[in-house]
C-alpha cells in the first residue's frame, strides 16, 4: 500500500508516495537525495540523522514519513535559503572553532544547535551539553562544538542587532 503525502522540506513541497512504515530518514535520503541527513545507526542512538521538525530537533530514523506530512522539515541543506551564498552563523562558527573533524556528525549537530539557539539565544555550557546529548561525535571530544555553538549564538545575536 502506498500513501500520497506532501513533505515540506526546506521550504519546498514534495508530493510523493510512501509506504505506511517508511522511515523519514530513508525518504529524505533515497527519494529526495538529501544526503546531509546521515545514517549512523538507524535505531535512534547516534543523532546523525537529526532534522528539525516544526522547530524541534528530532531523529528522522525514528520518525515515520507519513507522520511528518504537512509539517515543516529543515535539513542541513535548508539551513540557509537556496541561492544565499553566505553560511548560517552556526555553520561559520563550526568551521572557525574547529568543531568539524570527519564531519559525519556535523549536520545533525548543527541542527540540534539551531533548535537550541532558536529558543535560547544565549545558552550556557550546560544547556548546550543537554541539547547535544543525543548527538554522538566520536572525533572532537565536544569541546570545540560547545565553543562553536556559543560563538554561533553570539553571531546570531550580533546580526539581529544590526
Amino acid at each position: 500500500m502506498r500513501i500520497p503525502i506532501v513533505l515540506k522540506v526546506n521550504g519546498k513541497e514534495h508530493s510523493i508516495e510512501v509506504k505506511p512504515n517508511e522511515i523519514l530518514l530513508n525518504v529524505l535520503r533515497d527519494k529526495l537525495h538529501l544526503i546531509g541527513v546521515k545514517y549512523g545507526c538507524g535505531i535512534g542512538e547516534c543523532g546523525a540523522c537529526t532534522v528539525i521538525l516544526n522547530g524541534r530537533a528530532i531523529l528522522s530514523c525514528q520518525t515515520l514519513a507519513v507522520s511528518a506530512a504537512g509539517r515543516e522539515i529543515t535539513t542541513i541543506e535548508g539551513l540557509v535559503p537556496e541561492g544565499n551564498k553566505e553560511l548560517h552563523p552556526l555553520q561559520e562558527a563550526f568551521i572557525e572553532e574547529g568543531a568539524v573533524q570527519c564531519g559525519f556528525c556535523t549536520p545533525g549537530m548543527i541542527l540540534s544547535a539551531k533548535a537550541l539557539v532558536d529558543k535560547n539565544p544565549d545558552p550556557s555550557n550546560s544547556a548546550i551539553k543537554e541539547a547535544i546529548r543525543g548527538n554522538l561525535c566520536r572525533c572532537t571530544g565536544y569541546i570545540n562544538i560547545i565553543k562553536a555553538i556559543k560563538t554561533g549564538a553570539e553571531k546570531i545575536r550580533e546580526r539581529s542587532k544590526r
Binding site: V100, I128, T140
Partner: protein, 783 residues
Amino acid sequence: MSNKKYHFLGKDFPRKDGIARVTGREVYPSDIYLTGMLHGRILRSPYPHARIKSIDFSEALSLGAVCLSFKNTPQKHFNLRQVSVPRATYKDWQVLTDHMRQVGDPFGAVAAETEELAARAAGAVKVEWEMLPSYMTIEQALAARKDLIHEKVYLEDREITIKSNIACTREVAEGDVDKGFKEADVIVENEFSTPRVYHCQLEPRSCVCRPEPDGGITLWPTTQALHNTRILIGDIFDIPLNKLNVVRITGGGHFGSGIHTNPVVLITVALALKSGKPVRIVQSREEDMYDHCRYPSRYTLKIGAKKDGTLVAGEMKASVDIGSHHIQALSYLGVLAGWWHSLYRMPNLKYEGVAVYTNKVPTCAMQGYGAPQVTFGVETTMNMLAERLGIDPIEIRIKNYVGLGEIFWGQGPTVRSLIHSDGVKELLHRGAELIGWKDRPDPKTQTGRFRKGIGMARGFHTSGTGAPVPGEVKDFTTAQVKVNEDGSIDILTALMDHGGGTLDAAAKLVAEEFGVPFEKVGISPADTRSTGYDVCTHATRGVYCGGGAVLEVAREAKKVLLEYASRILDAPVGSLKTKPDFKLGQGIIYVEGMPEKHITLAKAAQTAMNKDWGTAIAAGSIRKVNCPPAYTTYFVEVEVDMQTGRVEIKRVAAGSDAGVVINPTLARGQLHGGFYRGAGYALVEDTQYDEKTGNLRCKGLLTNYKMLGPEDLPDPEDFQVFFADTYEPTGPMGAKGIGEAALNPVPAAIALAIQNATGIYFTRLPILPETILKAVKEGRDHV
C-alpha cells in the same frame, strides 16, 4: 621555535573541506547512490564457532536476489592489513568460508534491487550448522587441542600449523635482566589489563562497487589506505591494477578501523562481480560492532630501579586475545615492546608476547596501536616506584625518559631512529604549573565524601614508521605538485585526511614554500589510478611523512618554476625568492635585493606555457628516514564520589610537543578528541561477551556500549591545551605528528588522578564506579 617567519604555519585558516561538511554536501561512502545499483546484505554466523554443513539459497533466489557464498568466492588466504612487508604478514583470512569463527563472521551475501528485498532474501537463506566448541578466553583457547579456530595459516607463502590457538609470538631482549634486577634497590611488579574498546566511528564501515565495461571496477570504500585496498583486491579477485580504481572519499571517522581493508569491501566487490551491477553495502551498527575492535591487553610488568630512581631492568609478559583473525598481531606484539622500551631507558630488558585466537570480534589498530595499553601500566609503575623511593613522579620521569640524542624504537624493534627534538621537560613543567601539581592532595590524609585527585602521565607516538633502514613496516608517500596558469597550485596525493587537518597542513606547507596565499593551493580529488602509492594515513604519519613528502615534491616543482622565471627576469635562479602578495592575492617571484624586478607566479606559468617551455610540475615518492616522537603529557583533576564511585573530570591541562604546530585550532582539537576517547577507555568503554552464546553483551546497541557524553567532560574553559616550543629538524618546516599521541597517556593520567584521590592504584581498565566502591570497601591500596 618561532612561527613568526611563517606566513601560514601556526595560523588558523578555514579548513578547505569545511564548507562541504557544514552544508551537508560532503559525500561519504554511504552517500554514493548509482543508477541500477543493488543493495547488499551480508549473511553472518549466529554462532561463535561452527561449520556450515549445507546452505540453501532457493527461496532467496526465487525472490530475485543475487546470492553469494564461500562456494563462489576465491579461496586465497590473505591478511586484510597490508602495511607490513610480506615476510612479516600472517595470512589467515578468506573472502568467505564455511568455518565460522565468531558471531557475525560472514559466510555469504545477497543483493537485490531494494534494501527491503535484500533483507527479505537474507532472511530466507537456510543453513545447516555443525557446532564446534567455542573458546571465549585466552585460557580456553590455549587449552584446546582439536577443533582449533585456525588449523593452518600462511606467513608470506609458508604454511604454518597452528597449535593451541596461538597465532604468533614475539620476544625481545636487551642487556642482562637478571643482572639488572640484582642491581635494583626496589622492584615493582603488577599485572595490568585493558579492554576491547569499540572504535565507534560514526559512519559504519561501508562500500559501493561499480563494475566497469572494461572488466575493471571502481570502488568507494571506507578506508584509510587507498592503495593497499587496491592491491589486495586486485590480488584476490585477479583484476589488473590499471582497471581497479579506488576513489578517495571522506570517511565518517576511522580511528584505525580502516587501516586494513574492511571485509564489507571484499564482499561488495564479490557481489558486484557476480551480478555485473553496482552494489552498495552499508553495515548496520550491530554488524559494525561485530566487525572490529581495539586490541585488548593483559600483561605483567616488572621494573627495577636504583635508590636515586634510575631504572635498571624491566620484564614484560603480554598475552593478547586477538579474536577470530590476525589483523597483524605480529606487529602489534612488536610495538608493545617498542612503546615500553621507548618511554624510559631500560638497559636490561626482556619481553615476551603471545597472540591467541579466540571466538571473538577480530582486533585491530585503534588510536595509539598498543601505546595507551602499555603507557597505562608503565606510567602507573613509575608512580609506584616514585612513591616507594620518595621521589616526585615528575622527577623520576625526567630522570629516565628517552629523549634528545637517544635512539628509540617506538614502532617495534625493526624501526629504530635518533631523537632530534624533545619538549618533554617543558611539557611537564608547564602542565604541572597549570594544574597546580605542587598543591595536589595527599591521598593518605583525604577524608570526606568527595575527594579531589590530580594525576599526570606522559607518552608519545612516533610520527610515522620511517627509519634509516627499512623494517617490517612500509612507509612512503607519493605526491605530485603543479603550478597552474593563474598562479594557483594543485596537490595530488593518495594521502588521506581523517578530519585532523592533514591535507590542510600539506597545503599550508606548499603555500609557505611557494609563497602563495593559502587559498591558492588546492587539494585535487584522488584515486588509485591517478596517484602513486601511499602506505596510508596511520601511525601519526600524516603531517610528518605525508606532508613532508608533498613539501619535498613541491620544492622540485618550484625549481622548475624558478628556472622559467630566471629566463623571464634574466637573473640567475640562485638570486630568486618568492613571497605572497596578499593585495594581489598572488605569489610573486623577485630578485633578491632588487624588489622592482619581479613577476607573479601566474605570469611565470603563463609565459612558460605560451613559450612552450612546459608546466612547472614534479612528482615523487618520498620515504622519511626518521619517525620522531610526538610527545604529550596530560595533567588531570578529578573528583571521586566515595559513596557512589563516580568519577568526575574537573580540569585538564594537555601538553603536546608536535614541533612547529601547523594548524593550531585543529591541533588543539586533536587533543580534545584524544582525551575524550582516552577518558572513555579509562572509565567506561569495553565490549564484553556472553560466553555461552558468543554474543556481545551490548547486543550491538550504542546505549548499552557505554561512552562518555558531553556532560561527562569538563567545560571548554577548564580544558587547557598548550604546545612545546620545539622545532623538529627532520620534519617538514619543523613539524612532527600529534594524532595518536593525543590519546596515549590519557587512561594512565586518569587512573593516577583517581589514585591521588582515593589512595588506590587501579591496574585494570575500565575503572568502573563499582570497582572503585569495592576497592574502597575492602580497604585496598592496589587492585
